[in-house]
Amino acid sequence: MSWDFAILILSGLPWTIVVTIGAFAMGLILGAPLCAMHISRNPILHFLALAIIIFLRSIPPIVWVFLLFFGLGSGFISIGAIPATIIALGVVTAANMAEIYRGSLSSIHAGQWEAISALGLPPVSSFKDIILPQLFRVTLPSAASYLIGLFKDSAIASTVGVMDIAFLANFVARKSFDGLTPFAFAAVLYILISIPIALVARIADARLRQKVAQ
């Protein structure tokens, strides 16, 4: 495999990142209302959220991608390969983030809510100043490991023609009749990106923990 091929595979990195960040951002945002519905005292909202979460998580991400791109994309609506992948991975991420948020919320000590009430803190301040920073700390490790998983799962995009790392590695393998080197190169790329994410999350977590350790 020549250096040209290596550079070609590397040029897939931006698309891998776009799909990953897009789906993650979508999940981070949509996970919040989903979690709010799930913990709502309103039984309709609660069961609706529960049903959505189970539904979204029960279907493999690759089937979601095919459903959106080949299913809906074949005549119902016009959807590109990249938006289809981002939405498919995004909705699954939303379901998982909703569960991660819920776990984080339940880890906040009941005494914190009592102190908020007894002090008479206004709702916006309670959330922004007291609950959110504590949620962030608890959510960070699980969200970071989910992000790493998502980064690797983004290779699904290659199945619908997004020219990401996996797609280009496959392309080079076919062109050069060498299966090992291009895929090994792609594997190294995935590793080189995953490790820093894990490291950064670990350091940030350790810093926060050290500050507020209980």
Binding site: H109, G111, S117, G120, Q134, R137, K211
Partner: protein, 263 residues
């Protein structure tokens, strides 16, 4: 029907009532935890609420600032009356909580905020004080509870006794009319509890109106003006501390006091 007030000698006879509880009831489902509670307090009075576990002491205290909504009756703090049979408006609830500062058994400091910020942030958000003003007050209060050097620390780096003194400072910073203490030393080693009790004693001597749910019989006897002895959701006995604790009238009260005093 308000129970007759027998304030201790420290509180002037003419001091107005700052807290009145009338026919207060609280049920959890079918379980009635508070049964028709009546009492009143004068400004500057310190009342200790004692009694066996499950007697309703903590529930009574938590009803006073509506952490537990009452099932019946009414509560007046500093002119603001809350009735259980009226829908409580948010402004009333906030008003009530502004008048009553609360200290918990488990401190409940905000772990992600520095000691100083724990005390200054509520002042800014609840009272609208400027940051500089709030921090000035926080420093002064930390000085008062003997923790001026802890301002920049995080709560986790402080001992239990220190955390409870910080929690007291946090509540005081909002200028409450009444301070509610829910077993403030129960989570602490006895000797650590003493430093918290010392701060509370100093606060009492400074004229703060205080309701203290406690198992510290020495504190109840020496610092409080009056004792409410509760059992099974009732106020069993009420009166000047020494009188209730030395000469309890009912057999139930005698039994309880004998058990706790001879420990």
């Amino acid at each position: 029907m308000i129970a007759e007030i027998q304030a201790g000698p420290r509180v002037p006879e003419a001091a107005p009532n700052i807290l009145e509880v009338r026919n207060l009831r609280k049920s959890f489902g079918v379980h009635e935890v508070l049964k028709n509670i009546n009492f009143a307090m004068r400004k500057g009075e310190v009342v200790a609420v004692i009694g066996p576990s499950g007697s309703g002491k903590s529930t009574l205290l938590r009803c006073l600032n509506q952490l537990e909504p009452a099932s019946g009756g009414e509560i007046t703090i500093d002119g603001l009356t809350i009735r259980a049979d009226h829908q409580l408006r948010r402004a009333e609830l906030m008003g009530l909580r502004r008048k009553a500062g609360m200290v918990f058994q488990s401190f409940n400091l905000f772990p992600h905020l520095s000691v100083l910020r724990n005390i200054s942030l509520p002042q800014e958000r609840v009272l609208g004080r400027s940051r500089a003003e709030a921090e000035k007050r926080a420093h002064a209060l930390l000085e008062r509870v003997g923790l001026a050097d802890k301002a920049s620390q995080y709560p986790a780096r402080c001992s239990g006794g220190q955390q409870q003194r910080i929690a007291i400072a946090r509540a005081l910073a909002l200028d409450p009319q009444v301070m509610l203490f829910d077993e403030p030393t129960s989570a602490l080693d006895p000797e650590v509890g003493l430093e918290v009790l010392a701060v509370m004693k100093e606060l009492a001597e400074g004229g703060m109106t205080m309701v203290v749910v406690t198992h510290e019989m020495h504190f109840a006897e020496t610092v409080s003006d009056r004792v409410l002895l509760m059992a099974d959701g009732h106020i069993l006995e009420e009166g000047p501390s020494a009188e209730v604790m030395r000469n309890p009238k009912s057999e139930r009260a005698q039994r309880f006091l004998k058990a706790v005093m001879n420990r």
